[in-house]
Each structure stands twice: as structure tokens, then as C-alpha cells.
Symmetry: C2
Subunit: 167 residues, 2 copies
Amino acid sequence: MTDPVERLGPQELGTYFVLLEALSLLQHQVEQQVQADGGLSYIQFQLLGRLVGAEGPLTMTQLADGVVYSRSGLTYQAGLLEKAGLITRAPSPDDERATLVSITDAGRELFHRVLPGHVEVTRRMLFDSLTADDLDHLGDIMTRVRDHMRAQPPRSAAPRKRRPKNN
Amino acid sequence: MTDPVERLGPQELGTYFVLLEALSLLQHQVEQQVQADGGLSYIQFQLLGRLVGAEGPLTMTQLADGVVYSRSGLTYQAGLLEKAGLITRAPSPDDERATLVSITDAGRELFHRVLPGHVEVTRRMLFDSLTADDLDHLGDIMTRVRDHMRAQPPRSAAPRKRRPKNN
DNA sequence: CGGGATTGCTTCGAAGTCGAAGCACGTTGT
DNA sequence: ACAACGTGCTTCGACTTCGAAGCAATCCCG
């Protein structure tokens, strides 16, 4: 592809573009599957997965920390999940402000019904074209990238800090 | 208690999750920068970039092919870009159905004003934590993944999906 | 040629998303 | 104890997104 972009970044931009393109395709496929098998958006699936993985109930804030998602959007999605009987919300006994979110049996059941297809799709889409060495390297790379990004303060500093840190 | 997660393999699942998480973070940062520097959504930036890279005008369909995006959404975004004077739309002389989209000088100028910051952000977010070998391997891996996904049968042929609801 | 299927795009309505503002509880300082 | 501020979540309004339906031009095939 003759791209004037190429002048500003050599191999890096190519990698970047193909990375984003691949991600878009993967996300799209995953979204389709999760919707078809469980009537869930991917966000909802992620939220259920997070609750399944957690020991007990989580606050809204803890829930949002795992998914890159706005607070108001989380409220909306939690409302949908609650109405569908997949989670429950109750005020925390320790802190009346906080809302504790718990997964119901139905939610757990649905998650485990959707997961196999999810795994199947990701394997077919992603892992079938990877060798064990690729997988190893990819995991290593992305872990470092993730940590690096998490450490980077955004250009516009955090709109709202969630913990009193030393600053 | 057969755990379907175990069948995929903990390493694969972990890689998958960290991949999605990292790319979510990257996308979020990129979105911020493009918005801050040019008042554009990432979709709009992509569309301009595609038009800049093209030799001449593109049809709406050609434009949509590069970006994973719905047709109606593209119509909407093209409307915004046109109203902002960044592109123009005109019926094709060859095919009266088709709409030819061209980038204006203002659009080209804006794109090139935003691009350096874009490159800078992606470099800082993504490539600073990668070695040359990482970059090489990552590009190779994702190219294969992308091609693999592109080759997969489209979602029109859904083999055996349980229907969540009657539609 | 002519009629139906196909293609390219837009319109429309429902739903999702986000940031800002609002509400309620908690914490701190006096 | 009270006021003032901070924190956790929800509500609100504006905007975006998507699929389905609609419209018009083109293609296909007799």
C-alpha cells in the first residue's frame, strides 16, 4: 500500500494498523457469537465473567476498573443485567454509598453456557494461526504493553481519581 | 465439572484477555489524542486517512470496506465530515447509485496536522515497550491473524447456533 | 426490450454511550 | 455537632450506532 503515512513511521505503523485491524475483526466476531449464543453484548459478557471470577460481590467501581467503560454506561448495563435476573444489586453494609453487585445462579449458568462458543470462536479466529512460540511471545509482548500503558498517565490527567494517592 | 476454560488452555485465555485489554487501552488513548488535536472521532480520522491514501475519490462501499463499520453509520459520519467541509460527496458518473467521496484540501490539511501526534501517541503507548525483535514478531503474528480472520467464512453462514430468542 | 433480483446508499426508530450534573453517604476540621 | 468537602453511584441530555426498511439505479436473463 502506498501510504504517505509510511514516511512518518516505518515498520511500526504497519504493525500498528494491522494490529488494530485484526483487533476490530476479532472483536466483531466475538460480539456476534456472544450475542447469538446468549443474547449478551460483549460488555455484559465481560461483566459476568468478572463476577464469576471474583470471590464474592464487587462494587460498581471495582467492576468498572476491569473493563474500560464509563461509570454511567456501567450503571445502564448493570440495570439491564439486573432486569434480566443475571445479577443483583444491593447497598453495601460497610458503606451505604457503595452498590454491591452479585451474580445470580442464572447469570452464572448463562455465562457458562456462552463460554464454550466464545472459546471456540477465539480459537478459530485467533489461535489457529499461532504456533506455541507465537502464543508465548504474544502473551509476553502484550503483557508488557498493557503494563506500560497502565503506567502511562494519559495526556489529560485522570478526570477523577478513585483513591487518595500521594499527589 | 468440566471447565471449558481449561480446554482452551490457561495460557491462551490469558493471552487473549491481555490482548483485548491492551488494545482497549490503546484505542482509548488514540481516541483521546485524535479528538484533542483535531476534534475528530477515530472513525473520522480513519476515513480521512483512507481518502488521503487513495489515489482519487472512493465510493461509500469502498470506504466502509477498510473500516469495520455499518453502512448507515458511515452515511452519518460522512454527513458530519461533509458539513465540516472535510470531504465532498457527489454521484458517480459511471453508476448513478454510487456516491463518490473526495477529500478536500481542508480535510487533507487537518489529517496531516493530527497525524504526528497520532504517531507520537502510538509510539509512546505501544512501541516504547517493544524491542525490534518484538516488533518484528508482533507484526508477523498479527498479519497472519488478520489474513486468517479475513479468510474465515462470514457470519452469514452460521452453522449451528442455538437461538436465544425467537426472532 | 421488460420484469424481477441485486446493489448502493439513505432514512428511521430503537438502543447504547458518554460526560456533566445531581443525590446521598462519609469523612474531616473546627 | 455542624459545615464543607470528597466519594460512589445514578440520572439526564446530547450524540452515536446499528439493523431494517425504503428508494433508486443497474444487472440478469428470458
